[in-house]
Symmetry: D2
Subunit: 328 residues, 4 copies
């Protein structure tokens, strides 16, 4: 079966993440190294349906390793969510002589890949790339480290203002289901408290922390709020709530938003993307399919898509404790 | 009169701006150079009323030139807006043996200084520091250049996502009365269009530009929106308005917010702050008062507070034209 | 004569500078705006001789405004320095139907352009782009502001180490004939002293400053050295010289080198490049030739190549004084 | 024995690394959390000998988490290398009522700590902080991740110039005994080849790679050279060697130098420093001594100083392979 693979397609799908280009580059370079053709598929699964293909040589991917976003672009595809859409995609792949597919993205991306594999027996491996780090079976996803640096850099700037004016800032960061960005950037930025999806009593804990630090004479603070936290209030309502229940704070809100997805990838994300891109091609050459190539304890590993998608990553409780201690 | 000045107070007031610390440093170092005492006043005019003073030596300002915010802190002072408050302030200055005052901030700061001078004959000079660049009589205010770099860097990140997903982004930047940040960062970031307070037909012009570029096949674009633009819609309403009136755009909003005020100052802002800080002390030593020390055509100049505050800066029409041409 | 211009060539030559891409973009976009064809010429004058041409549309220059370097590349051309080489170049231009040329670079670039104009009557305008800011007739050259930020950012990093270890650092920056980078980054980085080509007694002054500050108990300092300073010693010899003549300093050397030429351009450089690119096309359309398009007191102006090349810019003495005062 | 610890000293020693301040902060905050006194010792072991002590409260370490360098400063101490010096140090510790010591630095720092423990039974734990990542028993040292980002950012800038001019750049990075920085930044920056201390045939391999890529038409390349590589040539001699043996390359050298040690720490380094700082205090409270607190597979662990110092870390061969593949 191994000798069958001569041509490999690669696409990026879902929200873009810094390092996606480095992953595409590693895929294309690995193909060149192993004498395989590499076909870039534009706009994710939608491009698969619309035959938006282009040959990628080792040269095509020069000078992309340091660029944010994805030059193959990404898009949502309603059509690919239908059985007919996936049939069309499989037909296009076969017609183009593509033997296997590398998909770069998050759990939505892997779900699509799994269906393609199940329904059409098409060999697919996935590479986890999302700033949220919410994929099971890999310690890190591509883009996460860069996003943390972007967030911490932004909060450093906000703190200049916070401490110049003795203000309390609520800073909203990404993370719909996972508090990893909030927790790590909260520790890294020296935040007072965090609100995350994994915790129920976040608001009470926050009010308690603020009360305590106000009594200690602290008047400028940063609270990092994950967008998916569970208080039922949006960040502006949270600011009002604090203002109504605690005196002596001049409160401001900052929603970091889309800047978190962009920027030149960090060295870590480029190295990770390079490892996983090479790993994906080698996995396909070993005959693997239906797996995500992740990193666990610094080792490149294969994990079934089912595992990557279904399981929920637990919160890093030790780091939660470190936050509590260092904001004393 | 000149020989009377032996001790000079310095404070920062209003919104903080990168480079304020560099200006304080230059004031303190100039005092040391001319054998004057320098007294740092904390929390702006409020600290003046509350005697929140500290001696600043040449050493006190080591390693602050590169820091955002203001280590003297800034605050609003309702009390200083009253005649009684200013009396108290003048009394405190006299009691502390302070002969003259340097105030670093924007037009609100200068208005306060003017009243102190008028009511109590207290010598004051101002240094323009605000990211908005909305002060008349100076080509640049301290902090503006840094804010432009911060905005352009943020939009570069957003564009990574915009072009990966073929999206239209509305990016809100600071500028309540002046479109300088929006216009310059719009040109610098390669934005499609801008909405600014100085223009009435902004929305029509924007819809026209978008229509034109959509027809030309462009599907990802950036619109830079100054917070004080005059459409009567907030940025989310603007996004809805575009969505309702133009098909084919996937629209997102990003409000850059407070990150624009922080960060290490650019080289230009540090040099400008150093020039103006030296200029302020030299102006006081020459016997000047009631003036702002600004920069015009690369020359440090004095401008009456009245002029700095009252006149409105015109929009840079040549640059507006450059934007129109380069987004063709 | 004006109606003759239908097709304009553009090239970059000499050392690359951040913002060159923004200038090319503005040239190409202005051509599109005025319905002219724009021809990109690769590798400077060498590409002119070798017919290395490509049509640049408004689209060709998307997403280049934020990139360092020059996508048209730059090269030295020994052949263009000969009369025969320039004849060949002129022939190629005519054969390609190019009516006028925009050259982006420094004084070497303009000298070449002047000869092409003199010998073949070919219309040429220049855009000043060099990190050294050593062109007469323009307040700023493209790339200079970015280089200053890069230098100041690097020295901020070095100061972390300098003050952690109580060390004296000699930092070499670019500037063969002009001390602008050293003087401005010296002020911006809070350096103790500078050594620049424009001053003869630099070393004596430096030793005096160091002696004074050592007596004042200062043990960590930064000296910024322009590569073209006139002591006759290279920077390592300077370090030895200080070590031999002053006790109590732990001395280190850092040569910043080529990082000063690269990086995403600052907002100022992008705006300047956009202004000058538009200005160059408009000058050609007005029938101008043999001029550099520069900026003076915020106004875009034309200056004869002869003036741009021959005259030497004087040192900014006021800023020298600011440095002396603020390092007291 | 546990109840004996009431007062803990902390110092930084050896080359400074970004994140040292974050580690000091975590130590001071953990002491506050566990109701212990924390004594900051200035200038490493030299300050221990000279009684250069200061009480650190939770407040003392506000706003230091984002600063490069070490506010406790670092210094070499010839005296501490003598038995007498260490005796003096132990005496000073006892006299100040300090029960245990946290030392932050590299292997030289740990060797000193080990001797203090052996000769005087003084409880000491270490925190690994060095940009070189050359400590055994921890996956990462504090400062390494930041240094990688600094290097990659610098090479990105150099590549702007390299590809604008079709040049070959040799870039020297830190790493006297370990090639980790060179290997990781080489992969991250998309370098053509690396020269590292762990490999003997580096130069041959490099010449082979260059020969191959020149034949493939590539004319701009980056070679990353660790300062401790084993060719016996310095980097300028290497450049000459390439120039003499391979035609067609325009070669330049850049020595990144001390900028690699400075700068605001990355989020990863701040989080790591926070974890290890907390871990160090908790280890002391558990009664541990003579150990380094490191991180292995994301778990905070204790490793005997002997192990941390003596063993040599092996090269990451998988990553070496990834480099070979991705530069095809």
């Amino acid at each position: 079966m191994l000798e069958k693979i001569k041509k490999i397609g690669v696409l990026t799908s879902g929200g873009d993440a810094p390092g996606m280009n480095a992953a595409i580059r590693a895929v294309a370079r690995s193909c060149a190294y192993f004498n395989l053709d590499c076909i870039g598929i534009y706009r994710g699964y939608q491009g698969l349906i619309e035959n938006d293909f282009e040959l990628l040589t080792a040269r095509s991917v020069r000078n992309v390793i340091n660029r944010g976003g994805t030059f193959l672009k990404s898009a949502r595809s309603a059509e690919f969510r239908t059985k007919e859409g996936r049939e069309k995609a499989a037909r296009n792949l076969t017609r183009a002589g593509i033997d296997a597919l590398v998909v770069i993205g998050g759990d939505g991306t892997f779900t699509g890949a799994m269906l393609l594999q199940q329904e059409h027996g098409f060999p697919v491996v996935g590479i986890p790339a999302t700033i949220d780090n919410d994929i099971n079976g890999t310690d890190y996803t591509i883009g996460y480290d860069t996003a943390l640096n972007t967030v911490v850099d932004a909060i450093d700037k906000i703190r200049d203002t916070a401490s110049s004016h003795n203000r309390l800032f609520l800073v909203e960061v990404m993370g719909r289901d996972a508090g990893d960005i909030a927790l790590n950037s909260g520790v890294g930025a020296g935040a007072e408290e965090i609100l995350i999806p994994e915790e129920d009593k976040g608001v009470e804990q926050m009010m308690y922390s603020l009360e305590k630090s106000r009594k200690a004479g602290k008047t400028s603070s940063i609270i990092v709020v994950a967008e998916g936290e569970k208080s039922g209030k949006n960040i502006f309502e949270l600011a009002d709530f604090i203002g109504e229940n605690l005196e002596g704070y001049d409160i401001r809100v900052s929603v970091l938003g889309h800047i978190q997805r962009g920027g030149a990838p960090s060295c870590y994300d480029r190295v990770l993307a390079s490892r996983l891109g090479v790993g994906a091609i080698e996995a396909l050459l070993r005959g693997e399919s239906n797996v995500m190539i992740g990193i666990t304890n610094k080792i490149v590993t294969s994990v079934d898509f089912e595992v990557a998608i279904k399981e929920q990553k637990p919160l890093d409780k030790e780091l939660r404790r470190v936050l509590n201690i260092t904001t004393v």
